[in-house]
Amino acid sequence: MGRAAFHALVAVMFLFLLAPVILVFPLSLSADSSMAFPPSGWSLRWYAALVQHPGLMAALRNSVLLALLVTASALLLAIPAALAIARGRFPGREALFALLTAPLLLPTIVLGLALLILFAGWGLIGSWSGLVLAHLLVALPYATRVLVTALGTLPAGLEDAAASLGAPPATVFRRVTLPLILPGVAATCAIVCLVSFDETVISLFVVGPRLTTFPVALFRYVQSRTDPLVAAAAAVMILFTLAIVIVLDRLIGLKRAVGG
């Protein structure tokens, strides 16, 4: 195969990979009343319709609040756990780390069903605590893993030096460890935020008639209709994701954040 043919093949494959994401933007500016591509005219009417859609807007507010709650809880749980795993010397350390990150290896459809069955009995379906717990199921493994990696890359001896100079453990953590792993903490915040905001399958099992999340509301909407309102909502979602990635990149550099 010649060089030109190979490059043409790569271009076609890149087009295939990116087309569905890119096409959402022109469609969101469609003036048609139903989905047709290419649109016959351009307007912002579907963004206006999105803002005026009470169900989707409530779901969007829920998702943003949920992402913040999940991020805060994940940090509170994962920072101590990561410290224990990265610094502690006790038997079963590897096994406990494996257990904490294990949910990422299992299909979300199975995890969601497992939560539904237990949560139904506990009255947690359609509740805030149920949703936060369900999102922690996937957020905690990510947070623990990123923070353990961040702690592992700290320059050796700094914490020991502070401790040998008489700083109590809490001071060592506050004055030495925490400032040094701040990039890792920022990366954790961004990743957990994205994971929670995009989580769909597990949420589908746990949401209730009165409390739903944005991806779930969008999923239900696409099930019944496919008008360009979804494209406007999708564009908002993509821009939200992009914003978090850009903030992360500006704060600490994308490569450092993902541990590259």
Partner: protein, 276 residues
């Protein structure tokens, strides 16, 4: 220090127990109960659910369909992802970062959004059918609400995982080897077949494992693009749990999905060891 370390782990482990270990064990146990009419669940241990499930040809065809569709998707993702991975691997350093972002970016976009993107392209009034009609094809074949749409969309959605796995495996690929082969008179395709392809087998195996298990368990895309006409394990689990309220059957089907995962993982382990 040991006591402190364990104390620090307690909150995270408590949450893990509450939302992971306990629910998963409970799920497995539930498949050994009987479903009673009206969504009730029997109180005694029984093999009834498993007996009915394994005796019903429908569930066997569901399993077969899931595995076959996932294998097709895996191979398609490999064929579509390989050229991209090779191109990115060989790109000059200043382009490589940008190209990597283009490969990873779709991963950050929700599966609902990307599936909707495919409805825009493949849907009855979408881009591709419009194009085909404009080219003079009066009644182009339907591309959504059947296996075609599910395969096309899931191939695209799983491609980033395949590309990343392939790139991780390309570490052993050394341009000097390719130049040596070429300078000894090997033609480009021979260099690819005899040097590049064998060296990238570990990446291919890892990418195929990931794509396969993710395809078997994916729900959003088959549900939206299949329109209820593409019966797969994952969509059946959801229907049994939410629509039919038959939790024991949904639990048993979940155990079957996990068993498929286990088989895929074992096969991967065997193949990688044989290759190494």
């Amino acid at each position: 220090m040991r006591r402190t370390a364990l104390l620090l782990l307690v909150p995270a482990l408590a949450v893990n127990l509450l939302v992971f270990l306990w629910p998963m064990l409970n799920l497995a146990a539930l498949s050994f109960r009987d479903a009673l009419p009206g969504g009730g669940i029997g109180t005694v241990l029984s093999l009834g659910t498993w007996r009915d499930l394994l005796a019903d040809g429908y569930y066997w065809s569901l399993l077969l369909n899931s595995v076959v569709v996932s294998l097709i998707i895996t191979l398609a993702a490999l064929f579509c992802g390989y050229p991209i991975a090779l191109f990115v691997h060989r790109a000059p350093a200043r382009w490589r970062n940008l190209l990597m972002v283009a490969c990873i970016a779709p991963l950050l976009v929700s599966a609902v959004v990307r599936t909707y993107g495919w409805l825009v392209i493949l849907g009855d009034r979408g881009l591709l059918p419009s194009l085909l009609r404009a080219l003079g094809w009066v009644r182009p074949p339907r591309l959504v609400f059947n296996e075609i749409g599910v395969v096309v969309a899931l191939t695209e959605i799983l491609m980033p995982y395949m590309i990343l796995s392939l790139l991780a495996g390309f570490g052993r690929l050394n341009p000097v080897l390719e130049e040596a082969a070429a300078s000894l008179g090997a033609r480009p395709f021979t260099v690819f077949r005899r040097i590049v392809l064998p060296l990238s087998v570990p990446g291919i195996l890892l990418g195929c494992l990931l794509a396969f298990v993710l395809a078997v368990s994916s729900f959003i895309t088959p549900s939206l693009l299949g329109g209820g006409r593409v019966p797969l394990l994952a969509t059946e689990i959801y229907d049994q749990a939410i629509v039919s309220l038959n939790w024991p059957v949904a639990a048993a089907l979940s155990v079957i999905v996990l068993a498929v995962f286990g088989v895929a993982l074992t096969l991967y382990g065997r193949l990688s060891r044989a290759e190494a």
